[in-house]
């Protein structure tokens, strides 16, 4: 099993989620994070003084899938989250040794 972590722009979440469901993903976990990358932050103004905000709001998607699905998921995400501009995000893939479904105590692929 593999874990796919994708950092995407927040407004892409709905679309990405819909696409993932279409290709058969049954579960995912979403976290609001702040990202620092090549995309430059913005300035905020308070009473005439500028502050530089270099962390930008991003969404982290975590999806655990069986090996066979990895490529499909990567394509789905990178297809939809793509706008061609910096800040589009990153996808990281790593290995998961074991998965347990709490409700049934099933383990392994069946539990994903």
């Amino acid at each position: 099993m593999k874990k796919i972590e994708a950092i995407i722009k927040p407004f892409k979440l709905t679309e990405v989620k819909d696409r993932l469901i279409e290709i058969g993903v049954q579960g995912m976990t979403v976290t609001e994070v702040k990202g620092f990358g090549r995309q430059k932050g913005h300035t905020e103004l308070y009473r005439g003084t500028e502050y530089n905000i270099d962390f930008l709001p991003k969404i982290k998607l975590e999806i655990v899938v069986i090996e066979e699905q990895v490529e499909k998921v990567i394509e789905a995400i990178s297809g939809i989250a793509h706008t061609g501009q910096i800040g589009d995000g990153k996808i990281f893939v790593s290995s998961i040794d074991e998965t347990i479904r709490v409700r049934t105590k099933e383990r392994g692929k069946d539990a994903v």
Partner: protein, 436 residues
Amino acid sequence: MRCNSAKVMAVGTLFLLGATPAFAETAVSRVDTGDTAWVLLSAALVMLMTPGLAIFYGGMVRRKNILGTMLQSFIALGVVSIQWALIGYSLSFGPDLHGIIGDLSWAGLRGVGLEPNADYAPTIPHQAFMAFQMMFAVITPAVISGAFAERFKFGAYLLFVIFWTTLVYDPLCHWVWAKGGWLHGMGVLDFAGGIVVEINSGMSALAAAWFIGSRRGYPHEPMLPHNLPLTLLGGGLLWFGWFGFNAGSAVASGGLATAAFVATHLATAAAVMGWLLVEWKHRGKPTLLGAVSGAVAGLVAITPACGFVGPVAAITIGLVAGAVCYGAVVAKFRMGYDDTLDAFGVHGIGGMIGMVGTGLFAAVAINAAGADGFFNGGAALLGKQVLGIAVGAAWAFGGTYVILKVLDKAVGIRVTREEETQGLDLAQHGENAYTM
């Protein structure tokens, strides 16, 4: 000008019919229901300004300090109100000693009853006047707390408020507003607290910000307002309550209250636009915090002037206040003191603008009890106003400095480094504002 006229007539009639003058005199000082309703409701409005200030300030600090900041405002309602009933009112408005201070004959509100006091407000119960003035004494130290927000020890703050109110506020209030006060006697005009509340709190704020030093990390670390909708709400409540503050200072309903009401609103509206447009020009974007800050600057500036100037002068004062206070706030960073919430930049500077504005635009045609300002041929008034600014500013700055110095030696005024990092809410109060 007030309903009194009707009564005077009625009494006059009685007089013609042979009533004794003594009776007629009593009648003249009878309580008027409209005036009393007006002043009591104005007092309620001014009371609301202190929670309003807590909310206005609370939204601007960092999340970890909101409760500590709000409590520094809110607690003034507790401690100053009691001080006022026990000694403050007597020191401020009690029988005059050499133009300097009131004596203690009204301590504990002895003799401050439900009959009018002709010196201050002949048509409302004396206690109504006392209550109205109480709310002013409450909010003034709360304004100062904006300067040293996010780093002042709560216990030391309580002591500061007690000493400051007694030693700084009460005397200055006496000088400017009490029968026999020396600045009052010289003809300095301050309708609703340009010296007593605004310059007083603003200059005290400057002394305090400078004495206590900057917050850790200031100015290189960003310290952003954590909840601006709260600040807008607080600003809205302040604007609302300020009608009581300013128009209520006529201490009677009628024409003068109306004039003060209109001047207050128009100056504030103009200051909103003044701040917003200058900021827009300067920084490229108009901000909500700018609009709300402008409103407060306008309210401050029109405070001394509102019962003496007409609508067009009010708009002028507001525009100038919005623009200049914006500049003052921006300049802060170059001055090297950390006035957290710009109590000096808004209240100190705004109060001075208003005092000068009064000296320029006051008109006897608006208020016969006032004087003509520079543009109405009364250059003398301008000088008096500047004197008033100078006296108020020096008194507030010096008094605050001495009190803080003594308190710092005695109990220490600043939280520890760890407490400051953790935030006042947890460190000083063991509370967390939001549990989402």
